[in-house]
């Protein structure tokens, strides 16, 4: 039953949700395993109005920037609601924000009032006071009794607003009416993988355009589990979407995810590749340890499902098509696939029911689908989950496009792509060197499908620009076309395939180009490798920095207590070398210049927020700087190179 709310801006969305969904739960907070506290749509809106009035009283003007530093919890969305209802925009960032980032963001965005999740974070901000001339007040999410000057609890601000509203204050209501579609609803600073933070300006219009493109329909009977950082646009857009659909969002954490999946039985969730990787390994491990009979049952089920699905994909034109397919060949193959499908179906039916369903249950049994974003999903893992029957809808987007550009839908689930371009959005594939449009262009065969180039995008989701960065904005957006900096191509069944970052392309001394991502992705699928980064710009050959999986090394009999010890171990070196040779080989489709010749084992792992972004993407320049000497060592030690 479709009853999605259409609104012009965020404030209107909160208001209409309160009218339409009333007492249904909107957000739920975990207190104990089986004790959660719900907040209804009406309560959220009422409290939001109080908070907004309180914020106005504290001096927040329309279109002001209000800091919002914290992680997923109900008070976060309440703060967001309050900020939207008083016509301001929020500047969100997680609790792991560094001092340098705080100083840069607060000054750059001229933040006067900021929310902070914990007293500890508030104290950090207060200690930086000298460098933060604009900041006047801090509002805490968690209740605290002993507070510094100019620090308030969120409930205190609500109380101020409530008193004013009881006396007939309607400032918040009039602020709401004055919101324009092009006004900012958020200003998100992306640390990106290079350079200083950039403030991405997203308008109400931008975010509302996204409500049409999310590939799954939800209603009041659905449940969403929130695990990714909400200040990131990818999770944020789902939170907004759940409000529009009347869905209850349950806040979980890494620590309790397993239990919460079981108890909440979410029907939908936003997820990152990392989550699927760990789930994949967990399932495989369980299968490995199981009784031989069960293992046999699983492998039979997986095999049948693979046969069933690949014939189905063939028949319904959902195969990855990077090259033009001869229609004659298709006609010849069609009866074969139809026959195989017919024969396999009854057996698949039984095994799907008896063997695959319990596995799906372990991943949260009610999941209708999940959207994966914030990084590429390794092909093998992608296929695995689709074959066992959890449709993973991989999407593609960036903060600058609030965020969705393309996403797979239930009916266009082409594995290996990020699906078709979303409605009202145009995409061009542009030649990196000449700047010519390759797709869509009639002068190329098939309108330019199957040619790789940089992805440019135009549509209602494209940001207003980078805050106070005119030059950068005009470099990034030209005539409405945003340069994504990603490489891709349009497949022959009109899906977008991502081929790596144009900026991370490695050019070897010989002039040969290569994308590090596919190699890294392949290598990290090995249980021995936790992280790896491929290097080799302007060098003779490529090398890799590798963080091995300590547990797995020890399971293979290597005596090492720490990663540092392991990196010294000759046996570990040998083991990893063999693994690289096996995995990154011409028989696995790698070209000669893509073969890793040399590697270094790193003495410590990549940490979230240091070497990795909050969505587990590697910050290449940081890693490169940190291990510059080790990278150099790989290339000076010519005697071992090239073996």
């Amino acid at each position: 039953m479709e009853n999605r709310i259409v609104a012009e801006n965020m404030a209107q969305l909160f208001q209409r949700a309160a009218e339409q969904y009333g007492d249904l739960p909107a957000f739920a907070t975990r207190i104990k395993e089986l004790e959660w506290e719900p907040v209804s749509f009406r309560q959220l809106y009422e409290r939001g109005l109080n908070l907004a009035t309180g914020l106005i009283d504290l001096g927040v003007k329309a279109n002001d920037h209000v800091g919002l530093f914290g992680d997923n919890r109900f008070e976060w969305i309440l703060s967001d609601c309050g900020i939207q209802l008083c016509g301001a925009a929020d500047v969100p960032r997680g609790r792991d924000v560094t001092d340098a980032e705080l100083i840069y963001i607060i000054n750059h965005a001229e933040i006067k009032i900021a929310f902070a999740e914990t007293a500890q974070l508030a104290n950090r901000i207060i200690n930086l006071k000298k460098e933060l001339p604009t900041l006047k007040k801090i509002i805490l999410h968690e209740e605290s009794d002993s507070k510094a000057k100019n620090v308030l609890n969120i409930t205190e601000v609500e109380e101020i607003g409530k008193k004013l509203r009881d006396k007939g204050d309607v400032q918040a209501e009039s602020r709401m009416k004055a919101i324009n579609p092009e006004d900012l609803f958020t200003l998100i600073y992306t640390s990106g993988t290079t350079g200083k933070p950039k403030g991405v300006m997203l308008s109400h219009e931008n975010i509302m355009s996204q409500m049409k493109v999310i590939p799954i329909e939800l209603n009041c009977t659905d449940r969403v589990l929130s695990i990714l950082p909400v200040w990131h646009i990818f999770e944020r857009v789902f939170e907004v979407y759940t409000i529009a659909c009347g869905v209850c969002t349950y806040y979980t954490s890494i620590r309790t995810l397993g239990d919460d999946l079981k108890n909440v039985e979410p029907t939908f969730m936003g997820s990152a590749p990392r989550l699927w990787e760990s789930l994949h390994q967990r399932i495989l491990k369980r299968v490995k340890e199981a009784h031989p009979m069960r293992r046999l049952l699983f492998h039979t089920a997986y095999f049948l499902s693979k046969q069933y699905k690949s014939s189905l994909y063939f028949m319904f034109n959902r195969k990855l098509k990077t090259e033009k397919e001869s229609s004659l060949l298709r006609i010849v193959q069609l009866p074969f696939h139809a026959l195989r499908w017919l024969v396999v179906t009854p057996f698949y039916g039984f095994f799907n029911v008896a063997v695959l369903e319990p596995i799906r249950l372990s991943a949260g049994g009610s999941l209708k689908a999940t959207v994966s974003g914030g990084g590429a999903l390794p092909n093998e893992i992608d296929r695995f989950f689709n074959y066992i029957g959890i449709p993973v809808l991989e999407g593609y987007g960036m903060t600058e496009t609030s965020p969705v550009i393309a996403v797979r839908t239930e009916y266009q689930l082409v594995i290996g792509t990020v699906g078709p371009i979303v409605e009202e959005t145009e995409v061009r594939i542009v030649d990196l060197e000449t700047g010519d449009t390759l797709y869509p262009d009639r002068s190329h065969p098939e309108n330019g499908r199957g040619i790789r180039g940089e992805i440019h995008v135009k549509g209602p989701q494209v940001m207003q620009g980078y805050y106070k960065e005119k030059e950068l904005t005009s470099n990034t957006i030209r005539n409405g076309w945003l340069r994504t900096g990603d490489l891709g191509m349009i497949t022959f069944n009109n899906c977008l395939k991502i081929l790596g970052r144009s900026k991370s392309t490695i050019v070897l001394l010989s002039g040969e180009n290569l994308e590090p991502e596919p190699i890294e992705m392949r290598l990290t699928q090995s249980t021995l490798v936790e992280h790896c980064m491929v290097v080799g710009q302007d060098k003779k050959f490529i090398g890799a920095l590798i963080v091995p999986d300590l547990g797995e090394l020890r399971a293979k009999g290597i005596k090492a207590e720490t990663l540092a010890e392991a990196s010294e171990s000759e046996e570990a070196q040998k083991l990893i070398r063999a693994e690289i040779k096996k995995v990154i080989s011409p028989s696995n489709g790698f070209k000669r210049h893509e073969l890793i010749q040399e590697f270094e084992l790193l003495p410590e792992t990549f940490k979230n927020g240091v070497e990795l972004t909050s969505l587990f993407k590697m910050k290449r320049h940081i890693i490169q700087d940190k291990y510059a000497d080790r990278i150099e060592a790989m290339y000076t030690n010519e005697s071992t190179g090239g073996k």
Binding site: M1, N3, G22, L24, W36, T221, R223, V264, L297, F347
Partner: protein, 353 residues
């Protein structure tokens, strides 16, 4: 149609016995003591289920036998099938049809126990005219014996098949992992053996499928379909919630095939054994196909009410028993708007009234 040779060779009989054993063992492995307690929690559902399983089904089987004018051996076989308790397959189908699995399991459990009492009574009641016809037939053929339903044998074969069930339950109590493996293996073996039996029957008696008169096929297919249809409408008439309707419908139509094989093999002799077996094989084959389609259908029509039910139950689980889910006006379809079972706890029921 006459069977000139035996339908099953000794090797097949051993295989069949093995299959019965492993399936019943698997059934036991899926049951716990709690399932028996569940029976007490759904007295209304169980009672209506009981009426439709031991009231409707045997009656329809008898009706089909009369209406289609089946030969006595087939008539007795179809009535026997009609009187059987439910099997574990129905639990799996109920799960996928978005029906109440707990009720399905409870019904399977209750009917298996009740079968010890009900089957002999029902068989005696419905088959008398056919056994008379059979005796007359045997007399004219000159064998001179009188045919009677071997009630004692039926009860002892029922008890015999309950032995592996008990063993399965014992395993379940000891190790859940092993029990799960046993359950799946049993399901897998069941499929293989059914396919093998049909295959060999077809190969050895190549004409058998063609020779079988159409009315026997109709009987084998319709007995299950009638069970689905009337199980559904009867529970709907009694205003049970949709998830119960679907569970009772499937539980009524899907009978415990392996018990039928066991009883036929252990209690009946030639010349009617082969004929009865053939009908049981046909029933077991077609029921898998028909219930798959019915399940797919239920799964589609039941999607919405099941999601509401699920969401409401989870609200109560996480927010407390007193929590009431207020869906927007017009969101709930008329059919379930005032259905107390959509809420599980007293507070939701009070609120709806």
């Amino acid at each position: 149609m006459e069977f000139t040779t035996q339908l099953l060779y000794p090797i097949d009989q051993i295989l069949l016995a093995l299959m019965i054993f492993s399936i019943m063992f698997g059934m036991g492995a899926s049951l716990t003591i709690d399932d028996f307690k569940t029976v007490m929690r759904y007295p209304r559902g169980i009672l209506i289920g009981f009426l439709s399983q031991f009231g409707l089904m045997p009656f329809f089987a008898y009706g089909l036998a009369i209406f289609l004018n089946l030969p006595p051996a087939y008539a007795i076989a179809i009535i026997l099938i009609g009187c059987l308790p439910g099997g574990t397959t129905s639990n799996m189908f109920a799960y996928f049809a978005r029906g109440s699995v707990a009720l399905s399991i409870a019904m399977t459990t209750a009917s298996t126990v009740m079968a010890l009492l009900m089957m002999p009574i029902l068989l005696e009641f419905y088959t008398s005219e056919f056994t008379n016809a059979l005796s007359a037939e045997l007399q004219t053929a000159g064998t001179g014996t009188e045919f009677v339903i071997p009630t004692g044998n039926i009860i002892s074969s029922l008890i015999l098949v309950l032995v592996p069930v008990a063993m399965g339950m014992f395993l379940r109590a000891k190790s859940q992992v092993w029990a799960k493996t046993a359950e799946d293996t049993a399901g897998f073996m069941g499929i293989i053996v059914i396919i093998y039996l049909i295959g060999t029957a077809f190969a050895r008696h190549s004409g058998l499928m063609l020779q079988t008169p159409i009315n026997i096929y109709i009987a084998a297919i319709c007995v299950g379909l009638l069970g689905f249809l009337f199980g559904f409408w009867m529970s709907r008439l009694f205003k049970l919630s949709p998830i119960f309707q679907r569970a009772i419908s499937l539980e009524t139509g899907i009978q415990n095939g392996p018990i039928a094989f066991a009883i036929i093999l252990l209690s009946f002799a030639e010349p009617i054994q082969s004929q009865m077996l053939w009908l049981a094989i046909l029933y077991s084959t077609f029921i898998v196909i028909t219930s798959s389609f019915i399940t797919l259908y239920y799964r589609r029509v039941g999607k919405f009410d099941y999601e509401i039910y699920k969401n409401t139950t989870i609200h109560n689980k996480l927010f407390g028993d007193e929590y009431v889910s207020h869906y927007p006006d017009g969101f709930l379809p008329k059919r379930i708007e005032h259905d107390p079972s959509q809420g599980f706890t007293p507070s939701q029921i009070r609120e709806k009234k």
